[in-house]
Subunit: 323 residues, 2 copies
């Protein structure tokens, strides 16, 4: 039996990436043209462009929809109250971005420790200005978020000789990568001793503003903060004030509010702040890996097997199994 | 018995760092003032500033000199033919820079893979331009040089999922970090398959121009090269030509010729080339660690024990013990 599967395209067509699939007819929705009528007959939707409002806008018209797969890790843009309340299954592209994101976060930490943004600016000015860098080795890294991306960052950090602690939903001791995991009630205490903080939180119930002004005020003057999760989880204004007033040593944000950051935003010029355009997870093989993961899930769906990466719609993300 | 030990200062006095040492009287030579006469009576010299020509200039006047310790890893500026031919023992500050240099080299690889210099330039222009990064995971890293710094870089690279090969003086199989180590006769062959090349060679007999135009011509268009060793070991002109002509994807040089690089050098503007001002090894604790290492060696010297980090004056560096 042939089943109809909708594909909400991003700017480019994904037909080549998906190729023909046995017993599936794809209905492509191009963001720039009006959708074909049969899109509302699909049983499953694969959303390349999670920023598209198509599903949200037309939600009530999808009477046969059973499953939505998204090409991202973060589900917040698709997980509307209507989607959450429905029995439509939502799956994400968990793990596709883990390695790229973890490498990127490590690169941002090293950039801050070694002052790369200063060195690269000196290069454009043709100035030779040797300085002392810092080593990451021996420094305390507090990971806010203990999912698979955070875990990989912790593994890299430990390989470099950092000491790692984790802040997660449920406190527990003896994690192989994070050591002791505490919950958010211990945030200020941990921030007061952290050399580096790396945030990898989803936008989900309970994470908004989780790193707030009090936690930022607890950081030491030598501390540096990196956010590769979601902007909404951090009090951006409090961070910027701390940077402006020299109360912390530096920060790097791959996620900011709003995105894209307008050219006239004061954020671009905050001292000791690296702004990166929400690209930490995107890598040259992302699209292929996303397509392969979706088709793996599609085969499971066709055969009635359990799907991979099912989002807990109450939590807002795929809960981790403990290692 | 009190022994005279000369200290060739850098721009700042190191008296506080060294402090009083039992049975030692330090004779400090300040680069900006004329030296005290008793400097030529010393039995040992500690050279903070290896760029100073003091030892070379006055070599013939040191009649009692038995031992020279240098505050750097590279010995080439101190190891003149006269020093090499003498029976004065030369020791270096091996290992002080290993961690900092290895982190820096990893940071440069990540900068190249993720395009940080482009991102930071976009920030100064207030431009939000997401792009795909590359992952280091799965890529082939060829280490040119297999000393302790290279070994640590290899360990970090493997922790990130890179595949590592080494090029060293003597070929051997089954090294725990480099796998198979080949000698320089295999350089072109390895360069033809490398994704990343990291050079950590000393300036020593046999290393000048070791990575020459043929090796650079063998690199693939996607390849990137990092040099944190010595500029003289690389054909800089050939590398720049390859970058200008887009024959390789990028490079990062922490060591260049000449140093400091003059403001009017064309090197500053080569596309996809990061210039860093010979600072990869310098870190906030370097001076303390160098002073501690020197004083450890000084205690050994006073007690007639074997010194640490004795430079093989024929090789030009401290040969590694195999792990």
């Amino acid at each position: 039996v042939t089943r109809l599967v909708g594909v909400i395209e991003s700017s480019e067509s994904s037909a080549d990436l998906l190729g023909p699939t046995p017993d599936v007819r794809y209905v492509f929705v191009n963001p720039d043209t009006s959708p074909p009528a049969e899109i509302f007959d699909v049983e499953a939707i694969f959303i390349w462009n999670v920023r598209s409002g198509f599903l949200r806008e037309h939600w009530a018209r999808f009477e046969r929809l059973r499953w939505v797969h998204i090409a991202s890790d973060g589900a917040e843009r698709v997980l509307t109250p209507e989607v959450a309340a429905s029995d439509v299954v939502l799956t994400n592209s968990r793990h596709v971005f883990d390695q790229s994101l973890a490498e990127y976060a490590l690169g941002l930490m090293l950039s801050l420790a070694k002052g790369f943004s200063i060195t690269f600016a000196h290069q454009t000015e043709h100035r030779w200005v040797p300085r002392d860098g810092e080593t990451l080795s021996g420094k305390l890294l507090v990971m806010v978020g203990v999912g698979p991306i955070a875990r990989r960052i912790a593994q890299f950090a430990k390989a470099l000789g950092m000491v790692v602690r984790g802040v997660g939903r449920s406190p527990r001791a003896g994690d192989p990568d994070f050591g002791d995991i505490t919950d958010a009630t211990q945030l200020n205490e941990l921030f007061a001793v952290a050399d580096y903080v790396v945030m990898v939180l989803p936008s989900a119930p309970g994470t908004e503003g989780l790193v707030g002004s009090e936690a930022i005020a607890a950081l030491r003057p030598a501390a540096r903060l990196v956010n590769v999760g979601r902007a909404v989880t951090l009090d951006q204004e409090a961070l910027c004030a701390a940077l402006r007033e020299g109360r912390i040593a530096g920060a790097a944000l791959d996620v900011v509010s709003p995105e894209p950051l307008p050219a006239d935003s004061p954020l671009w010029n905050i001292p000791n702040l690296i702004i990166s355009p929400h690209m930490s997870g995107d890598h040259t093989e992302s699209l292929q890996e996303i397509a392969a993961l979706f088709q793996q899930n599609l085969a499971r769906w066709q055969q009635g097997e359990p799907l991979l990466n099912v989002v807990d719609k109450r939590l807002g993300y795929v809960p981790s199994e403990r290692p």
